[in-house]
């Protein structure tokens, strides 16, 4: 039946145009991927941020999982801030004997890698790859 077939066709066209629209990429951003190592080991978890030095376009951040990160960052020279927490102990939620216990995490990296970072990277359009090998001391 031609009506059913034309409906089917309309559906196909709609799905196709949606897929086209969604795949459009922001020309002002480049994708940065890479590996973050702390003292030679991939960082289990953490956060990375690229902050354009000019202060006119927004900073972009991403999560570090098993050492890998992917960030869609604004292009241009950027400061890079990396935070990698480490577990240093446990704490009780409440001051009662039956209180549940939670791990305490602290920043493992010195501030030269995050709050007063000296790391920089020039984000180019398209795909970028940058690995970071950091030391806790």
């Amino acid at each position: 039946m031609s009506i059913v077939r034309s409906l089917y066709l309309i559906g196909l066209i709609a799905a196709f145009s949606c897929a086209l629209g969604c795949s459009k990429q922001d020309p002002n951003r480049g994708q940065v991927t890479g590996l973050v190592e702390v003292d030679g080991q991939p960082a289990a978890e953490g956060a990375i941020a690229f902050t354009p030095i000019d202060g006119n376009s927004a900073a972009s951040g991403g999560e570090i999982v098993n050492g890998r990160y992917t960030v869609a960052a604004n292009i241009g020279p950027s400061k890079v801030a990396i935070r990698v927490p480490k577990t240093v102990g446990e704490r009780k939620l409440y001051d009662t004997p039956d209180s549940p216990v939670r791990p305490i995490q602290e920043e493992s990296l010195p501030s030269q890698y995050n709050d007063e970072t000296t790391l920089t990277f020039d984000v180019k359009p398209g795909e970028n790859e940058q690995n970071f090998s950091l030391k806790t001391k």
Binding site: M1, I3, T51, G55, G62, V71, T96, Q105, S111
Partner: protein, 316 residues
């Protein structure tokens, strides 16, 4: 012999194709209408949120009229925040009278253990942005309401004496901060010292509440001087850069709009965040409310965060 044909009376009915076409047309119409309805609902929620911020703004103005200065953002001894000080000015005189500004928030009367009966457990509509689906702390020993509206802590991280003047492209402080970053000495600000102009300085904005009813995630714990009761202008609104929150005080919830990482107590920072698409509502010191886009120029956003930075940057 041919028997005379008895004409079959055709029953009036729709064919399958006709029905399918009608259903398809209705489907297309609903599909067209649904986003519009959702957008209208979100617009209504956003204007409710603007209204809430406006109420906070008027309350802060009245507090300033009565006391000659803005309330302290937070005090460590006794541990309290601006929320308790604002109660008498948001028509919650009963809460204000029953509160004791000399007692810690985590004990009665603000927190009555294992119940929501404390003053901090009283749900006030103006605490909450209707677009956010975070929850109150309703389990465990310490039960309290969370809130979405945070005071402006500017470009300085929160915490102890080690707090740094992070990314200081602007000099100057926010209307809420601590002198020398010491929590013992909150800066008490008069409108006369907001030299950038009341309409060029943010007073409050939005943040997203934790989604865990336990006392393990302090995002939105506005009664708690160590909870996340303030926002920074260090990062742009709804930034993908992770907030820095001491561990044990937040739990990763996998929500891409709430990125966070564990950090040192004196390095805490958090961007303004909301569920409104594309930006956040923010209250300025003159009690006007504006919607700031995620794409606001970072330097202009930092300039809005300070009250005496002397910047000339426009936020548009």
């Amino acid at each position: 012999m041919n028997t005379p044909r008895i004409p079959l009376r055709r029953r009036a009915a729709f064919t399958l194709v006709e029905l399918l076409v009608v259903i398809a047309i209705i489907g297309v119409l609903v599909a067209l209408l649904l986003p519009a309805v959702q957008a209208a609902r979100e617009a209504a929620r956003r204007s409710q949120c603007v209204n809430n911020l406006k109420q906070w703004g008027l309350a802060m103005q009245m507090y300033h009229d009565a006391q000659g200065q803005l309330p302290a953002g937070a005090t460590p001894d006794p541990r309290q925040t601006y929320v308790m000080r604002i109660w008498p000015y948001i028509e919650q005189a009963a809460l204000g009278q029953r509160n004791d500004l000399k007692l810690h928030f985590y004990n009665p009367p603000v927190t009555i253990h294992n119940t929501m009966n404390g003053l901090g457990g009283q749900r006030l509509p103006m605490y909450n942005c209707p677009s956010d689906f975070g929850v109150d702390q309703t389990t465990g020993t310490y039960q309290r309401c969370r809130g979405n509206y945070m005071i402006n802590w500017g470009n300085v991280t929160y915490g102890g004496t080690g707090a740094t003047l992070l990314d200081r492209v602007q000099t100057g402080f926010a209307p809420f901060s601590n002198i020398d970053c010491k929590r013992e000495t909150p800066r008490l600000v008069k409108f006369s010292s907001i030299t950038d102009g009341l309409s060029n300085t943010l007073l409050m904005s939005e943040y997203l509440k934790a989604q865990n009813p336990d006392d393990v995630d302090w995002r939105g714990d506005i009664h708690n001087d160590e909870g996340v009761f303030r926002f920074n202008t260090i990062d742009s609104p709804n930034s993908s850069v992770a907030d820095v929150i001491p561990n044990g005080w937040f739990e990763k919830n996998g929500d891409p709009q709430m990125p966070a990482t564990a950090g040192a107590f004196e390095r805490q920072k958090n961007a303004a965040r909301s569920r409104h698409s594309g930006g956040v509502n923010a209250l300025r010191c003159d009690a006007s409310v504006a919607f700031y886009s995620d794409d606001v120029t970072p330097n202009a956003w930092k300039a809005l965060g300070t009250m005496d930075g002397g910047e000339v940057e426009s936020s548009n």
